[in-house]
Symmetry: C2
Subunit: 198 residues, 2 copies
DNA sequence: TTGTGGCGTGGCACTCGGTGCCACTAGCGT
DNA sequence: ACGCTAGTGGCACCGAGTGCCACGCCACAA
């Protein structure tokens, strides 16, 4: 193994980060998000309050794993799509792929999403995180359609596909099907202009 | 003037509320939202910090006028729509109607929306306010389609029409056309399943 | 072995948003 | 004149987040 010693520092940092994340999710699940203080999470993770905020800029951020990595991955998936595929289909496929978790991680994902979608403070915070996703999607649409990312169609596609993804998460949480199926169902409705509404 | 005396109490309350709102919008416009403290807004409005938080639960709430009234009005407009009209058309019409401001108020609306759409803290806060709108729209769609408001189509229509409205506000802010036109353009794209994307 | 420099950490003090509590005052009806 | 009510200001408090400093640990060089 190369540099096993030098890795230890990084590993330790990642380990504490994971401990904080686990402790936070645990506490936020057993009680309301707002009633849990940062001190309590820090105590449960065995670190100081100050260190908690060195690992996570916000109490809310402890709920989102490494979300930035997901955004980057989504960007790569979109960049790799073929131009033959319809734009909406490429976005749907990318959303499905980036949310393709191994079965063992699904309970964790459920809890995360339940918190984000139901706790008001987290729901508010999500808007800021999702803004990055919107920008990535809008740039992809702009690339495909040849217009600016800030113009109507790219922005609308970005926001409404995210609406589809959010709705899919809602129905996934309420039921017991697969997330991929729910995503496809929502995207089909959207791409078809809501056929069931005449 | 009729009842000038008895009205004075209510009028005074509404007047201070309006003063706070004006002072807040003024300060948030001239500087960043986050750098303006509640104390400064209170001082500018000639009231105490404590009183500020009696009129507005949150610093962010001072930016939104009487938003609850708008939600109620939207609900009434949706309830009054004819069943002959396609669902999306009725929602579009309601959005257009509820955002039909007199020309003199447009600069104010522009400033409000610019803040809400660009300042991260306000963008996050907006999610909580818009959740009420989503619920009202979802219930309307549920009424029209005969399914539960929490099911896929009502929720997706609610979230994606709000996405359309948000996008319309973005393009309206960037350009110099009418808000109604931008709303119609966005809703047309959405209802047509994004025809320009093949 | 002995520096020495970097990095993660803990503790402290501070700002600011938001809340509960109490006391004061002005207007109103009796 | 009396009490009632509603709006207000002041105060103390909590919790999120930040800047600062000092400590300890580990790698690396002499």
């Amino acid at each position: 193994m190369i540099g096993a010693v030098t890795e230890s520092a990084v590993d330790a940092r990642e380990a504490t980060r994971a401990r904080i994340e686990a402790a936070a999710l645990d506490l936020f699940t057993s009680r309301d998000f707002e009633t849990v203080t940062a001190d309590e999470v820090a105590d449960a993770a065995g670190i100081s309050r100050r260190t908690f905020f060195r690992h996570f800029a916000t109490k809310a951020d402890a709920v989102w794993g490494d979300f930035h990595a997901h955004v980057v991955r989504l960007e790569e998936l979109l960049a790799a799509t073929s131009d033959d595929q319809p734009v909406l289909a490429s976005i749907c496929a990318a959303y499905v792929e980036v949310n393709d978790y191994p079965g063992a991680d699904l309970p964790l994902l459920r809890e995360r999403m339940r918190l984000i979608l139901t706790e008001p403070a987290l729901q508010a915070h999500s808007q800021v995180r999702y803004a990055d996703v919107d920008q990535v999607v809008a740039e992809h649409v702009a690339r495909r359609t040849g217009c600016r990312p800030e113009s109507l169609v790219p922005r609308l596609v970005a926001l409404s596909t995210r609406a589809a993804a959010t709705t899919a998460f809602e129905t996934w949480l309420a039921g017991d099907g697969s997330l991929a199926d729910d995503l496809h169902a929502a995207f089909d409705q959207l791409a078809g202009g809501f056929p069931t509404l005449r």
